[in-house]
Amino acid sequence: MNASQPSILRLQQLGSALLQPFSLNLRGGEICCLTGTSGSGKSRLLRALADLEPHQGEVWLDDQNQQQTPAHLWRLQVRLVPAESQWWSDEVADHFPADYDPEDLKALGLSSDAMEWQVSRLSSGEKQRLALLRALAFPLKVLLLDEPTANLDPATTLRVEHWLKQQIARHRWPVVWVAHDREQVQRVADLELVIQDGEVQEMLIGSD
């Protein structure tokens, strides 16, 4: 986790069947909120950035071109956290690095023995927070969040937002954050993109 050299994420004429091409530069530590109605293609845009879906245009991370980087190495740096997390082993700890430091569990309001929990007994809110912790437990350079607080109560939402903003500021990751809650956008966004009828438009922060 190298904090000295913040990365820049550059999207050049990025587009797909549903999305008209658009360009964007995102500096390290900047949070770009992505909004729009359900089905407008927010999640698919994140998937294109992680190269999980075919798309047009180019994506650059500093001087690395997405298509010229082996796909798994790209996704190792450009970390997408999906709206619905998936778990393939019985115990929570199996999904984390062996030397994971459970210090952050408390920051998200989870008990310190959560690593020993059974996945089958997790609530949706616990799953969502553990999925965030898991995604950030492996080294990364860009963070893509798909409604990271959708299953959380208002108090926990604020807590998770606060922790995320702290992490983002410390590591200076460029962040694309899909949100549908206006207030959340006001709280976290440095800039906002709205997808409407396949067109991506930049909004002024603070306006409605």
Partner: protein, 267 residues
């Protein structure tokens, strides 16, 4: 010891017994009579036809005709593998992967067995080559079909898990590993079970046939062991090839899970 000649009227008597069974089932309204009759008719006709083909093949005995017969068997087995898959690969890949896996495993193992292990002269003597290949292909077909079916079905069911693993930066081979294991297991279990049960729970068909035909049990058993080992080899190698090629086909060059390469379920 000579084999006791079996005449047509004796076979006819066996058929009459099956007819009586179907009549009984009909009267008890068990609803199986119709399919029982059709299957009986099929087995008589199909086996009578294959007897003609084999008689002809044995009398000619040339490599060309043995090879042609082997090719026809392979292509039919390929079709069967394809038909047994619920979500099969589109665009000829289901047929291609299945048939090629069976070709590489069954044919190479049949040839090695004939050349090195049994050693008839010439090596393609149809009395040895065709039954051997038939047993190999039949079992490999089951293994390959089960493996591919499990592979594609699991990939579909676990698509979100696979993608979530990819999102965490895992290589596609790592993300698909549990499904590969599962598919391999599905393909190999019948062979492993058959070997485990052989001689205790079941007397394998080939050995029984040889003993009926007058072969001393010790020799019949040796052949049976050989057959079961090479069947396991063929099935294992075939299933492995199919799982490797099939799982590769599930991903594209950018290591994306490409379920659009599968047909919607049939049947």
């Amino acid at each position: 010891m000579e084999v006791i000649e079996l005449s047509w009227w004796q076979l006819g008597l066996a058929v009459v017994l099956v007819l009586m069974l179907s009549l009984l089932a009909f009267q008890a309204r068990l609803g199986i009579s119709r399919s029982l009759l059709i299957a009986t008719l099929r087995t008589v006709v199909q086996l009578a036809l294959i007897a003609l083909v084999l008689e002809l093949l044995f009398s000619v005995g040339s490599l060309l005709w043995v090879g042609l017969m082997a090719l026809v068997m392979l292509l039919l087995a390929g079709r069967e593998v394809m038909a047994r898959q619920k979500r099969r690969f589109s665009g000829g890949w289901a047929y291609g992967i299945g048939t090629l896996s069976m070709f590489i495993s069954s044919f190479s193992i049949a040839v090695i067995t004939l050349l090195v292990l049994i050693g008839p002269s010439p090596w393609y003597t149809p009395q040895y080559a065709i039954p051997l290949l038939g047993m190999l292909l039949g079992n490999t077909m089951t293994g390959v079909a089960l493996s591919l079916d499990r592979l594609t079905e699991q990939a579909w069911q676990q698509r979100q898990v696979i993608e979530n693993r990819l999102m965490l930066g895992q290589h596609w081979t790592q993300a698909v590993m549990p499904i590969r294991r599962e598919a391999m297991r599905a393909g190999m279990i019948p062979s492993i079970n058959a070997m485990a049960a052989a001689g205790i729970i079941s007397l394998p068909g080939m050995m029984t046939g040889q003993i009926l035909a007058g072969t001393p049990p010790a020799l019949a058993v040796k052949y049976q062991i050989l057959i079961m080992l090479i069947i396991t080899l063929g099935t294992g190698l075939g299933a492995m090839l199919a799982v490797m090629a099939g799982s590769r086909r599930l991903f594209d060059a950018r290591q994306r899970l490409r379920l659009d390469r599968l047909h919607a379920p049939v049947g």
